[in-house]
């Protein structure tokens, strides 16, 4: 029962999050689709959370090795993802004041 109740909370969270995702992404400026790709890239590296929970606890060595590799992989994505996004966005300049720079 606990499992099922959990299960449905998770489904709800998933569905709602998807709604948000679709709503938000559809409104991302076309100018920024390349940075968007690298940003979502970094965010999806949230898998690091799971990785830490496998690498950290007192589990058999082989398990922890898998986890550690996963931490490394995710960490790489986090670092490179955010850095390159920032790098690309720095390049976008408008002649107007940033405030007005709205071109959906």
């Amino acid at each position: 029962m606990h499992a099922t109740s959990d299960f449905w909370s998770q489904i709800f969270v998933f569905v709602l999050a998807t709604f948000i995702g679709l709503g938000v992404i559809r409104r991302v400026s076309r100018l920024l689709h390349t940075p968007l790709m690298s940003l979502t890239n970094a965010i999806s590296a949230i898998a690091v959370v799971g990785a830490i929970l496998v690498a950290g606890p007192d589990y058999p060595i082989p398990i922890r090795i898998l986890g550690t590799i996963a931490v490394f992989a995710s960490m790489t994505n986090i670092v490179s993802g955010f850095l390159i996004t920032e790098r690309m966005l720095k390049m976008f300049k408008s002649e107007q004041k940033p405030g007005e720079g709205k071109r959906p």
């Binding site: 998770q10 679709l22 790709m37 970094a42 965010i43 606890p57 589990y59 550690t68 995710s74 408008s94």
Partner: protein
């Protein structure tokens, strides 16, 4: 209590991720979005790391340090390599998801534990399947984009290919079901290993038949897979942050893929199973009609006389790295009071937003980058349309010629401008591998050569000219 703190941190991180993506809706706030993302991620990592059960820190520290060591250089790649980088990091993401899933499975099945509820096991299988196929698939994609020699650029197809692939998938799924039904059986670990192997194999086979130029779309789809893998992991670990973040990425990948397919007027299935790239050979050498070449001198004069010049950049500008020269041209023309606009096609180049990033790199204000739908009405007023290494996105056949493979794809109406100058190196076709009637129209003049050189010449002409009077 600590549990509550962690959950709170996760909740805040979730909100921050949503804002991060929300703020990408305009360049003015986009950077704030990145910072929000960073903070959210830091919060999530810190909260998790602080969990009491995390007792071994050394390995994690090392992994993190290595992550920085590899990540920082990866973020310095030239902009033309961005698609590869994205593919590569999808590979990493898929790998991470796959490994965590594997670890969890062997951990729990080892304990022969009740943790492996039907739901959990299903989630693990999904996670591992998606994770590992994303891993190899993305590696293949990265290879094709990087044009690594031992990975065939051209789509590799053989009869019954799709059936084979589907077959593989079915087998993997069947094994998965078996495992779900009896996760602690003696044979389960073996079956699980088989599922992993099949997933890895499937990832490769999935990409092989797809042409190199279709990779951007594939990458978007792989983003969606990576996101779903994270969601599955969230289900396994009952972690709502993972579920939300994964869902956000999933929708992002989905929407980008849809936008690209729409803009190319193709369907998902066509991209995934159509082996489109073949067309490239098919009609590559269309019977060569008459090109009218123009000299740089002539072109520069016409440009100087113009009131409105619309520059249509394409993949060629990226290949030639011509954006900085384009910037100089833009300055020269502005100096002469010529209005210069850039017409940006949604799929110009090889990834969404490709042209925008390049031109932004060359410090061209994004307020002069006009989207297709906004610029097309003004094209008839344009005195000159300067096509810089664009081809398919200005091919009138998309409007008129029902037989054309790109028929129906929305294009930039360069052919409606008073005069057209087109810069390309040869008579070769573009990505779609078809001739472009625009080049043969009587208002079009070709400027053959590498975009960077040609535009460099133009600039020299003008600065020279302006020097005189």
């Amino acid at each position: 209590m600590s549990y509550n703190l962690v959950q709170l941190a996760y909740l805040i991180a979730t909100a921050l991720f949503v804002f991060a993506l929300h703020w990408m809706n305009t360049p003015a706030t986009a950077r704030r979005g990145v910072y929000a993302g960073v903070v959210g991620m830091a919060l999530a990592v810190a909260a998790t790391w602080a969990e009491p059960e995390v007792v071994h820190h050394l390995w994690i520290v090392i992994a993190v340090v290595l992550g920085f060591a590899v990540g920082v250089p990866l973020s310095r790649v030239p902009l033309t390599a961005v698609p590869q980088r994205t593919a590569l990091s999808h590979a990493f993401g898929g790998l991470a998801a796959g490994l965590v899933g594997t670890a969890k499975f062997y951990l729990w099945s080892g304990e022969g534990s009740a943790e492996l509820t039907g739901f959990r096991t299903t989630a693990i299988i999904a996670e591992v399947l998606l994770g590992f196929l994303t891993f190899t698939g993305s590696l293949m994609a990265a290879g094709k984009l990087q044009e690594v020699k031992w990975i065939p650029q051209r789509p590799v197809t053989y009869p019954g290919q799709n059936i084979t692939n589907m077959g593989l998938l079915v087998v993997a799924a069947a094994l998965g079901v078996a495992i779900v039904l009896d996760p602690t059986a003696a044979w389960a670990p073996v079956a699980f290993a088989a599922v992993m192997a099949l997933a890895l194999l499937f990832g490769v086979l999935l990409i092989i038949p797809i042409g190199g130029a279709d990779m951007p779309t594939v990458i978007a789809i792989l983003t969606a897979y990576a996101g779903l893998a994270a969601v599955a992991m969230g289900f396994v670990l009952d972690n709502k942050l993972l579920i939300t973040a994964g869902a956000l990425d999933g929708s992002s990948g989905l929407i980008l893929a849809i936008i690209m397919c729409k803009a190319m007027n193709r369907s998902f299935t066509n991209v995934l199973f159509g082996a489109f790239g073949q067309v490239q050979q098919a009609s590559a050498g269309g019977e060569a009609r008459e090109y009218k070449a123009e000299t740089v001198e002539g072109a520069s004069q016409v440009l100087e006389q113009a009131n409105l010049v619309v520059i249509v950049p394409g993949y060629g500008m990226a290949v030639a790295q011509a954006q900085h020269k384009v910037r100089e041209l833009y300055d020269q023309l502005k100096k002469r009071g010529v209005t210069v606009k850039f017409a940006i096609h949604p799929v110009a180049g090889r990834m969404p937003g490709h042209m925008n990033v390049l031109l932004a790199e060359a410090d061209i204000p994004y307020t002069d980058l006009v989207e297709m739908d906004e610029i097309n009405p003004d094209m008839p007023q344009a005195d000159v349309a300067l096509v810089v290494g664009a081809n398919d996105v200005v091919n009138p056949a998309a409007r008129s010629d029902k037989s054309s493979p790109i028929y129906g794809m929305p294009i930039i109406d360069a052919d409606r401008a008073r005069t057209v100058f087109a810069i390309k190196r040869s008579k070769n076709p573009g990505f779609a591998g078809i001739d472009n009637a625009l080049y043969f129209s009587d208002k079009t003049w070709m400027l053959f050569g590498d975009a960077k050189n040609v535009i460099g010449e133009l600039v020299k002409q003008m600065s020279g000219g302006s020097g005189m009077h």
